[in-house]
């Protein structure tokens, strides 16, 4: 019974996104803007730094803030005609709604990253293909960890008056571990180190994601209650 509601919610979000492409375009262009600004800021030749040293930070700021946009949007669309209440009234377990939203948000974030990474190779001239497998894993695991906590906090902040202000304020400090491990793993990966060097960081981010997915499943019911 559980997984059907989960997939239904996720499919609905994907269908809505395909039709409106709101959160994808806003997140993508925001990320592009951040990358362009960074390429203005860091003229690599003159400051003698390779992209490896700074790339972790750049990719992570892009990922963090673009995911906040799509997390925000994933619950704003529910608030419009009080569809939140519609979801609460469904006989399914509220955690299915949480997991459905979590899955949809992770997919949106990764879709944006899949487009941004190649573009960042053009802007910053690093060899993406060499680091791709490792980097892809780092991005997937950390984006999922970030979305796990982000989906719960997005559901919380959408119910208050100023949700755009509240979500970053709640999410960024609490997600510090994922950001720290993500940046460190990305830097090691970009520096060409093999999995052995940053594998433990990816594992830690995976634990973070697991812990807060469980917390989300247990607490989502209290958040959705009116």
């Amino acid at each position: 019974m559980g997984h059907s509601a989960l997939l239904t919610v996720c499919a609905k979000d994907l269908r809505q996104e395909l039709r409106t492409r709101e959160s994808f375009t806003s997140a993508f262009f925001f990320s592009l803007l951040v990358q362009v600004v960074f390429s203005f800021a860091f003229d690599f030749q003159s400051i003698g730094l390779g992209f490896e040293d700074v790339g972790g930070g750049i990719l992570w700021i892009t990922l963090t803030f673009s995911s906040i946009l799509s997390l925000q949007n994933s619950f704003l669309i529910e608030r419009e005609k009080n569809c939140l209440a519609g979801l609460v009234l469904c006989p399914c377990d509220p955690s299915a709604v949480y997991l459905g939203k979590f899955l949809a948000n992770s997919i949106f974030v990764l879709a944006v990253q899949a487009l941004i990474l190649p573009i960042s190779t053009l802007l910053f001239g690093y060899d993406l293909l060499r680091v791709l497998p490792g980097l892809a894993m780092v991005v997937v695991v950390n984006a999922a960890g970030f979305s796990a906590l982000g989906t719960l906090f997005a559901a919380i902040s959408v119910r208050t008056r100023r949700s755009e202000l509240l979500l970053p304020l709640l999410l960024l400090p609490a997600a510090t571990p994922v950001v720290i491990w993500g940046v460190k793993a990305t830097r090691l990966c970009l520096a060409g180190r093999d999995l052995g060097a940053y594998g433990y960081l990816v594992a830690l981010s995976a634990c973070f994601g697991a812990i807060f997915t469980v917390a989300g499943v247990l607490l989502f019911d209290y958040v959705m209650e009116d």
Binding site: L170, K184, V223
Partner: protein, 238 residues
């Protein structure tokens, strides 16, 4: 105000008077010990004495967040607003004492390491926790009504506390090397007199925390009673 609330209010007031007396005396004794009795730490000199208030503040802030965690769980289970009032009070105190740690830390670091801010694991964790629980207080102010604020804040109170060890661990990894001799000198390296003073200060701060908590909880109860009376007043009049 409901009958049970009045009894609680009376007990809180009685507790406050006791605590006020105890904290008053202990504070004077602690100050005497810290400035007069205990010798300066040999390497850092007199400035190390900040330690005797800095670390207890951090402990009390942590205690505050733990109280938020527990009372949030009890609130979600029982839905009695008194637990939400306790959680709100404890969060406010947590943020206050974190603030104290965050500005006594740099004052201590400046003369000893020459920089105002050191990305030392404990100080960084305190900074991140301060931001988490400031966000908790902002959430409360943005909520549409008291019941929603209580429910949503309880969820953040629980999730926020689960995050504490993870944040500390992640910061530990980030800073990599062994933590600067902040606390460890307090632990093993302390002479007996220093240890006694440290324990004295810890006790004083814990009691001070309880005093402030009692006061703030009582304030919360009275505010709720006032809101109820105002509501009653407006509907009776309408």
């Amino acid at each position: 105000m409901g009958f049970r609330m009045e009894a609680l209010d009376r007990n809180l007031r009685r507790a406050e008077i006791l605590l006020f007396g105890a904290v008053g005396i202990l504070m004077i004794v602690s100050l005497y010990f810290v400035f007069k009795v205990v010798p300066s730490e040999v390497t850092m000199g007199v400035v190390q004495r900040i330690f005797y208030f800095h670390v207890p503040s951090a402990w009390v802030a942590f205690l505050g967040f733990f109280v938020v965690f527990l009372s949030s769980i009890v609130y979600l289970a029982t839905r009695r607003l008194i637990w939400d009032t306790v959680a709100h009070a404890a969060a406010e105190l947590g943020v206050l004492f974190c603030g104290i740690v965050l500005f006594t830390g740099p004052i201590w670091a400046r003369p000893v390491w020459g920089t105002w801010w050191t990305w030392e694991a404990r100080l960084t964790t305190t900074l991140v926790l301060e931001m988490v629980y400031v966000a908790y207080l902002v959430l409360r102010s943005q909520a549409e009504n008291r019941d929603q604020a209580a429910r949503l804040a309880a969820v953040v109170g629980i999730v926020g506390f689960l995050d504490v060890p993870i944040i500390y661990y992640s910061v530990q990894i980030w800073r990599g090397h062994h933590p600067i001799v902040f606390k460890s000198s307090g632990g093993q390296g302390l002479e007996p007199i220093m240890l006694k003073t440290f324990m004295l200060c810890m006790g004083t701060f814990t009691l001070f925390f309880l005093l402030l908590l009692a006061l703030r909880v009582r304030l919360g109860i009275l505010q709720d009673a006032l809101a109820e009376l105002k509501e009653h007043d407006s509907t009776a009049g309408a």
